[in-house]
């Protein structure tokens, strides 16, 4: 990365701020009781959606990595095989969200980006559980898993879109220091 050192410092601090948000939201999500463990809201993905408009490729990857580490730390799964699901889901969703945002920005709002990310994440995790854990039986959990992901991602997308449009902090960042 070839920024002047001052600007680079600001950008790294901004990544850290978003990562801290992800860590906090992971904690909030962990507190919410869920009927079935795989039903997740995906609150921790909010900084990843919001960061799309501000971060460069490498910074975005760094944020995704920090989110996986933070979430693993909070849920206590960082040294278990469950973290593989988190990694697979995060890689799939961030890659797709980045592509959709970068190349289809004109036609897609953050709502669409969020849905695409959730579907990518869920499908990656289902495939992983298909080959790692449950075998062919994994397809039985697919429909509820995908429906929950769709609903929660729409809500998160609406929030992110509103935030990006209305937040003065966000808009000042886009014009100013970053």
């Amino acid at each position: 990365m070839t920024y002047p050192s001052k600007s680079r410092q600001v950008r790294i601090e901004f990544v850290a701020l978003l990562a801290a948000c992800a860590l906090f939201l992971s904690t909030v999500e962990y507190l919410i009781p869920k009927p079935v463990p795989f039903m997740r809201i995906g609150l921790a993905n909010l900084p990843l959606i919001i960061g799309l408009g501000l971060l460069k490729e490498k910074e975005y990857m760094l944020l995704a990595l920090l989110k996986v580490l933070g979430q693993g730390l909070v849920t206590g799964t960082i040294f278990s095989y469950i973290v593989l699901f988190s990694i697979a889901g995060t890689i799939a969703s961030t890659t797709l969200m980045y592509i959709v945002y970068r190349f289809f920005n004109r036609w897609v709002s953050l709502i669409g980006v969020s849905i695409a990310g959730a579907m990518a994440s869920n499908i990656a995790q289902l495939l992983l559980s298909r080959y790692l854990l449950f075998g062919a039986a994994a397809r039985l959990i697919a429909p509820p898993f995908l429906v929950v992901g769709l609903i929660s991602s729409i809500l998160l997308g609406i929030f992110a879109q509103q935030f990006v449009q209305k937040s003065q902090w966000y808009n000042s960042l886009q014009e100013g220091p970053l």
Binding site: V100, F104, S109, I111, G112, G135, A142, L146, L150, Q161
Partner: protein, 124 residues
Amino acid sequence: MKRIRLGDIIIFLLSLVIIVASLGSYGSLSGKPEVRVQAEGREWIYDLSVDTIASFQGPVGATSIEIQDGKVHVLDSDCRNKVCIAAGWISASGQWIICLPNNVFIRIEGTTQPKPGGVDDISF
């Protein structure tokens, strides 16, 4: 900046298509009730209304199932935890029992009659 754009709707519809396609995984939930057993890399189909006992070989030994009075359960299995035996009887379409160590997957497909006035199994 518009709120909802064309691409959003396309992505939403694509997701719905994926979800509907994944619903197909439940197989046919209509038709004659039958027990489908996946084991030994193949699938067996039994009539739920015909009482039988059948045995399947898996990585850790044999797993035998019993069909009786329109219900099916795992009679005996050589696996360690016996979770499949503890799962008890299943009788409704969509229900399943899996013996993970022995790679046996039992599920019911087709239309099964709900017991008149019966209480949902998961109500409590």
